[in-house]
Subunit: 264 residues, 2 copies
Amino acid sequence: MFDSGVGGLTVLRAIHERLPSESTVYLGDTARVPYGPKSPETVLRYAREASRFLVAQDVKAIVVACNTATAHARRVLSEEIDVPVIGVVDPGAQAAVAATKTGMIGVIGTRGTIESGTYERAILRVRRDAEVFSVACPLFVSLAEEGWVDGPIAQLTAQEYLTPLIEKEIDTLLLGCTHYPLLAPLIGRVAGLGVTLVDSASATAAETGSQLDRAGLNSTATSPPERRYFVTDDEARFTELAEGFLGAPARVVDRAVLDDESSD
Amino acid sequence: MFDSGVGGLTVLRAIHERLPSESTVYLGDTARVPYGPKSPETVLRYAREASRFLVAQDVKAIVVACNTATAHARRVLSEEIDVPVIGVVDPGAQAAVAATKTGMIGVIGTRGTIESGTYERAILRVRRDAEVFSVACPLFVSLAEEGWVDGPIAQLTAQEYLTPLIEKEIDTLLLGCTHYPLLAPLIGRVAGLGVTLVDSASATAAETGSQLDRAGLNSTATSPPERRYFVTDDEARFTELAEGFLGAPARVVDRAVLDDESSD
């Protein structure tokens, strides 16, 4: 699994819960986080480098645990790489369609994810008559990383971002960024009781399980699974933030070098 | 001049005002913004790549218009590069010492700048008995880029970050991040009348003028100065944000490729 930073750990947590006997390798591209504001071609380049690193670790499937990278790179990676490549967008979109009664779905994410329109297209592929309303919420990432997931600042920020969606009378809100589960209790309160929150993490874990089943790749190991963590920068900061996202400590194994540093 | 993104345009604006006949080349490393949370060695690598790009543009001096890059790279760049390399830290520190009466100085910046302790050391070099109190304010960058520079969210965030400094009874507050001048009116209101705000931009412009004078490098051109802008990613977003920071529109000339992309 790779992500631009720590956010993907919310997806990894769901995978650990659902597929407890699978070993995992997590790569956080913390030297180049965030991917959200970057252009599609730059994000594709980063995603290719991350995938190459994971393939070299001998993984049997790759989870793109980053909404921006899924939007800009999952399809291309699927064509280029021999193992299954699972993104967070389609599982999230399917879960949102399964949850909605009225077909009025809100989507929130980073600027990059929202501007790409990927979630909207993915939802409309599953349910053609859905109405999708999208809002970019860039401050949510900073709030999650600062640990300000409650209190008046987070509350006002959520109201500012979500009011246009509430006014559209959505009945389902898809958290289209892996950082947002940390803010889910607050987002749920602001969105109100009539709105079902859907996040991609558990849907992606389920999809990963199905794909491993279909390919006959499930773990048959009897030894306990390994859980390895790599980052491209600042192990200390990653470790500090990780527990909040993963629900357990993550000990970084090593620093991964992704881009070609021969120019130094 | 280079910066991790758009923030350095507040420094460029000060240079355009103070040295109006000088031509400028601005490089915003928008593909890898922000530098703040990245490690010293990664920031140094990025700064070297940016400087190499500017030297190839035939510049006669380089302004490192990014506090994080100044903290981690200015000294090394000065030794490696033949033209003067001016950072934002020493001019800012000198301006803060000139402004304080009590010697109680607050410094705010990104996590990277604050944790490096660079401003604190720079201030203590100029005034050994100063007392420096530092706070990292990561949300301020998001607020500035979102344009939320006033209103209750910005107000509460500023109170949250600045209250510990106000309680120390600082009389001077150094804005140690190039994004923060956009929030200066709000920061000034929250800090109160007894606190003088100092930002590095105009101090850095003055220092650049002095260094050009000393080296006999001032422009003697009679043609109007050129102002060129390069980014490493997302020209559209840069152009959209630029006017708020620069006080004038910035038209991007081209995309700069900094890291070695031969691995694609």
